[in-house]
């Protein structure tokens, strides 16, 4: 079934080409995009079931493993693919219903760009090669630059310039890490690097690990690399912000957990640094959220803050913690996207997202009120929602590790959860509960916008209902991550190519004369 593996990348790419050819025919474009993303969702869901009997590996262009690029789907990748496909499909339907709203109306290039973004995200999740991950990042980032600056208004150009420069800087850092890793190991195939990195000097390994974490941390918006996010996300159209908030930072988190587990099983002290960064991310992020009086900005800060939970889980570096972190990623993607979509509904109805202007929405549009309330409470971690399950899992994993710093982090995460509740209740009270200071424009909210938001909220509730099986699944995914062997054997069924004799990352070592391509120390 390995022919399924490249489909989540190929289908959106083909769809992007097709929608570009259909320039100026919005209905056809919409049909193509929706079909494509539904197909991606179906493929991802199929793989979610299949991978329980072992990872799927596809060799691109039929080049055998270390020479060509491999695409690997294990439990973690399949889960991330499925969630991202669900979210992108919902957001696409939502953005299509926005209709004649000038500020956020999708233009003709919206569809191709959006599909390219999906392709890049999928590629990042399934790639088994470090350089290919870089290319995937560039694909999704290039699409995100276009989406963020759609229309080229003054405000978006301002936000876009910060975003683009920061993203390019992080990509350059990633490239430096790749150069260092290649110089040290002579390969960029993740499975092969996993073995070779253990043989090199620990100091060099730490440098590579730090460079990679720096690059991914910048993408994932980990404090102190997070300041670009609340400044750039809120200005984009609601649908774009929703998909960015849900997926783009999580791609960084995914890359962190993948490299941490596969390449650096012994972190060499990096975990302690990550712990403190996680704590600072949580606390600083949520304090920023408390101070905001605009829902979009407030949500951007909670996004930063809750990245801290995932980094906390990664840094604990036990199988339980990773399981909880993966569950938290799934929960957070759905909930954060749902909240941004609902904020878009609020903006549509009330003409603003400023808490000082809004009011009385719970009475005026009760459905939107419910749609906001459920994910807001979910985000704050009120039982029985999935946010509670995820946080509980992380806290348990922290207590199992039991080091002093783990307990500090547990305290920090509880405080953050409480402050999230405060920020959310503040938003709820001001926008939904208390009467509006001035009458709101009360524009009609199209049903086509409400339905995708409802769907995502239902999915987030489904994460609670299905918490048992899902948590078991993420625990197994984390177990696979910690084991490492399964991934490596899947890529190299005949054993990892022997280092000294055949350095197969290099060209045809057996057939040529002395190529002088030994493995480096």
């Amino acid at each position: 079934m390995s022919w399924l593996v490249p489909l989540p990348v190929i289908l959106p790419m083909l769809g992007a080409g097709l929608t570009l050819a259909l320039y100026g025919r919005p209905r056809m474009q919409k049909a193509v995009s929706v079909t494509t993303l539904s197909a991606v969702l179906a493929v991802s869901a199929t793989m979610l079931v299949i991978v329980s009997s072992g990872p799927l590996v596809a060799e691109v262009g039929d080049w055998p493993a270390p020479i060509g690029i491999v695409l690997v789907v294990d439990r973690l990748s399949a889960l991330m693919l499925t969630v991202s496909a669900t979210v992108t499909l919902c957001v696409l339907l939502y953005s299509q219903a926005q209709g004649d709203d000038k500020e956020s109306a999708p233009v003709s290039i919206y569809h191709p760009t959006y599909l390219i973004l999906t392709a890049g995200v999928s590629n990042a999740f399934i790639s088994g090669d470090l350089f290919n991950i870089y290319v995937a990042f560039e694909v999704l980032l290039a699409a995100s630059y276009v989406l963020l600056t759609l229309g080229g208004t003054r405000e978006r150009i301002r936000a876009g310039s910060v975003y683009v420069v920061v993203a390019i800087t992080s990509s350059l850092l990633f490239l430096i890490a790749i150069a260092a890793a290649y110089a040290a190991t002579g390969t960029l195939n993740l499975a092969q690097m996993a073995g070779r990195l253990q043989e090199i000097d620990p100091g060099v390994r730490l440098v590579i690990a730090m460079l990679l974490m720096l690059a991914f941390g910048l993408k994932a918006a980990v404090f102190p690399l997070s300041f670009w996010l609340p400044d750039s996300y809120p200005t984009a159209p609601a649908a774009v912000t929703a998909v960015f908030a849900g997926l783009l930072t999580k791609v960084g988190v995914y890359a962190m957990i993948r490299t941490r587990a596969l390449l650096f099983p012994d972190s060499g002290g990096l975990d302690d640094v990550l712990m403190w960064m996680a704590l600072a991310t949580m606390i600083v992020g949520i304090l920023g959220a408390v101070a905001q009086d605009n829902i979009k900005r407030l949500l951007s800060f909670t996004l930063v803050s809750h990245i801290g939970y995932m980094v906390f889980g990664i840094a604990l570096a036990t199988s339980e913690a990773w399981g909880a972190a993966i569950y938290y990623v799934v929960h957070h993607i759905t909930v954060q996207t749902a909240l941004f979509l609902v904020t878009g509904l609020v903006e549509r109805y009330g003409g603003s997202t400023s808490l000082t202007r809004l009011g009385g929405l719970a009475k005026a549009v009760p459905l939107v009120g419910i749609l906001f309330f459920i994910p807001a409470m979910n985000l704050a971690g009120i039982p029985p929602f999935s946010g509670f399950v995820g946080k509980l899992g992380l806290i348990q994993a922290g207590a199992l590790v039991g080091t002093p710093i783990a307990y500090v982090l547990i305290g920090g995460s509880v405080v953050t959860s409480l402050l999230t509740l405060y920020a959310m209740v503040k938003a709820w009270n001001k926008a939904f509960w208390q009467p509006a200071p001035r009458p709101l424009p009360a524009r009609k909210v199209p049903a086509g916008m409400v339905m995708p938001a409802v769907a995502l909220v239902v999915v987030s509730l489904g994460l609670t209902v299905a918490a048992g099986p899902l948590y078991e699944y993420t625990t197994r995914a984390a177990h696979d991550l910690a084991e490492r062997d399964q991934y490596i054997t899947a890529v190299f069924p005949d054993g990892v190519p022997d280092d000294g004799a055949t350095d197969v990352a290099r060209p045809a070592p057996a057939s040529g004369p002395d190529l002088g391509q030994g493995v480096r120390p």
Binding site: V135, R154, V162, Y182, P507, G516
Partner: protein
């Protein structure tokens, strides 16, 4: 064992390009940032070239008895060059758009910074007037305010619409 000693000239060039790139990246004007990114991108490309080991004969099997160069490093550089080219074009377009809209291409202040400056001004009346204006909306204040590192911005205020 191949020769893994890096070429000193390349290392020096990488260092100079990186230093220049980082300096330009920290500037306020987008066009200088673009130049900085180009320099940094080239530095990283050279770094990958160094990572590929010493130069050798063309990587075609059977062409020569000498050790061959590592083609993978060059393939990666090619990819990186293409990506940097695309992003540079996008950044240039963005700085041109910024110039169209604002008659300058400077990255403006973070709105959050302005908010904090305003809060500080509210707490201490003596600070107000110096850096923040109550009557101005926060976004336009962020657009108007520049730090004093760039002398050239002073005269440009009149040109702005």
């Amino acid at each position: 064992m191949m020769d893994t000693t890096p070429n000193l000239t390349l290392v020096v060039v990488i260092a100079v390009l990186t230093a220049g790139g980082v300096y330009l990246l920290l500037e306020r004007s987008l066009s200088r940032i673009v130049l900085g990114i180009i320099l940094l991108g080239n530095a990283v490309n050279l770094m990958i070239l160094v990572a590929g080991g010493a130069a050798g004969s063309p990587p075609i099997v059977g062409l020569s008895d000498r050790p061959m160069s590592d083609p993978l490093a060059q393939a990666m550089i090619l990819t990186a060059i293409v990506i940097t080219l695309g992003l540079t074009a996008f950044l240039l377009a963005m700085s041109y758009r910024s110039w169209q809209l604002n008659r300058h291409d400077e990255v403006q202040d973070d709105v959050e910074d302005r908010r904090i400056a305003r809060l500080a001004a509210q707490d201490h009346p003596s600070v107000s007037g110096a850096d923040t204006d109550e009557n101005m909306d926060l976004d336009s204040e962020a657009a108007e305010t520049h730090d004093e590192t760039d002398e050239g911005t002073e005269g440009r205020k009149e040109v702005r619409p």
